[in-house]
């Protein structure tokens, strides 16, 4: 077998990497903000029968229960029919944000509920309001618990961002996968290009994983969760 790699592909693939990274970082950041809000509503939003709880639940079930691809096409092709024009990048970012927020909401809910109930009680007992207790006592602990599932989600979204290649037609709006496909269709070097792209994704995932592990160690509470080796 004769594999041919052309260094001329690299600048374009580099652009694709940059776009993929932007999509991932933005959607994860915005998704975390929205997800945290939804998770808080699910825990503290006044119980099962409050309108807020109900809205958050419907949102979460809808965006977790339908394919990301459908959501993306719905936004990209559907919004213009009601007069809202969105480009491929914005449509991709919006779909990914709305989707990951639904998943992250559940991670936040789980993390918040894992904080012992005595923590809230002790905070209220010194006279903190519920909002203060959530902000200064519950969330700092919940955010530490959320790092492992969150890094999982980050990796998923990094790879799922390749679906924006469904809507991107021009080179400057193409993510890594879309760029690769357009290079390959021109020179028929599918195998080589996709091997290269797989390695690029792998490298990005490894870098993010290491970075998050570092963050996790940095914010670890001394004396808690010390790894027990060899047991």
């Amino acid at each position: 077998m004769n594999l041919v790699f052309d260094p001329a592909w690299l600048p374009r693939l580099g652009q694709g990497v940059s776009l993929t990274m932007q999509l991932t970082v933005y959607c994860m950041g915005l998704g975390a903000a929205l997800g945290a809000a939804l998770g808080l509503v699910r825990v503290y939003g006044g119980g099962r029968w409050s309108p807020l709880y109900w809205l958050a639940s419907v949102y979460i079930h809808f965006f977790r229960g339908t394919p990301l691809l459908v959501q993306l096409l719905g936004i990209y092709l559907g919004l213009p029919t009601v007069g809202i024009l969105v480009g491929p990048f914005l449509a991709g970012l919006l779909a990914m944000t709305l989707n990951t927020a639904a998943y992250q909401a559940e991670y936040f809910r789980g993390a918040i509920q894992s904080v012992k109930s005595g923590q809230m009680m002790a905070a209220r007992a010194v006279g903190m309001t519920r909002t203060q207790a959530i902000r200064h006592v519950i969330m700092p602990q919940a955010l530490r618990l959320i790092i492992p599932p969150w890094s999982n989600e980050l990796i998923y979204m990094l790879k799922y961002s390749s679906i924006v290649s469904m809507t991107a037609l021009r080179p400057e709006t193409m993510d890594l996968f879309g760029t690769a496909r357009s290079i390959a269709t021109r020179n028929f070097r599918y195998f080589e290009v996709y091997i290269l792209v797989a390695l690029f994704y792998l490298a990005m995932v490894l870098i993010l994983t290491v970075a998050l592990r570092w963050v996790e160690r940095r914010v670890r509470i001394p004396g808690l969760g010390t790894p027990s080796r060899g047991v």
């Binding site: 012992k116 005595g118 923590q119 009680m121 002790a122 905070a123 209220r124 007992a125 010194v126 006279g127 903190m128 309001t129 203060q132 200064h136 006592v137 700092p140 602990q141 530490r144 509470i221 001394p222 004396g223 808690l224």
Partner: protein, 249 residues
Amino acid sequence: MALLRVEDLHKRYGHEEVLKGVTLAQDAGETKVVIGPSGTGKSTLLRCINRLTEPDRGRVWLEDTEITSRQTDINRVRAKIGFVFQDFNLFTHLTALDNVRLGLVRVRRMPRAAATGRAMAELERVGLAAKADAYPAQLSGGQQQRVSIARALAMDPRLILFDEPTSALDPELIGEVLSVMIQLARDGMTMIVVTHEMGFARSVADEIVFMEGGVIVEQGPPDKMFRSPEVPRTGEFLRKISELYGESQ
């Protein structure tokens, strides 16, 4: 006028009525020890006093503020009532110093430097100034409970409620917590203590309250309660508990 008045407090969980009308009064500087078999509403009583648990019926006053009134800002009241939990409930993500300082900064809005000074002074008082930078998970149970007492003290409480403060501790760690509490009682702190430590009750309580089945069966000064209780059941319980827990202090 009494510092704290509790009037006809009722609390029901499902079908079980845990408090069936509890009335008591507590003067400033007084130490009351509440004893009784488990499940008789002692902890519920403490939690209803600062409304960590919402009572179904009855009233509670701290001086002339009715705690149970809807118009009362409960957070302001709670800031004046210290609460020490059986399992400490220190904020796990904060150092000992930050645990004590958090309420000063966030609730009392004290400037950071002043709050730090005050928090250090309280840690000093419970003998843990050297552990200011330690996290709860790095402290023994006894040390954690002393930090939680410092956390309560820092708020300048009018009253501190202790909910079985030594029940979660290994026997050899009980003494260090009790000696802090004894010192507090001698310094004139107003305290209500739910405990099985009869030695503590005998040596510092101004009054012992015996609860059973959601009501106060009998209350009185320790001498009388131990020597000549009016209700036979009180004497029986006191004898049993003294055998079980000894009189370590």
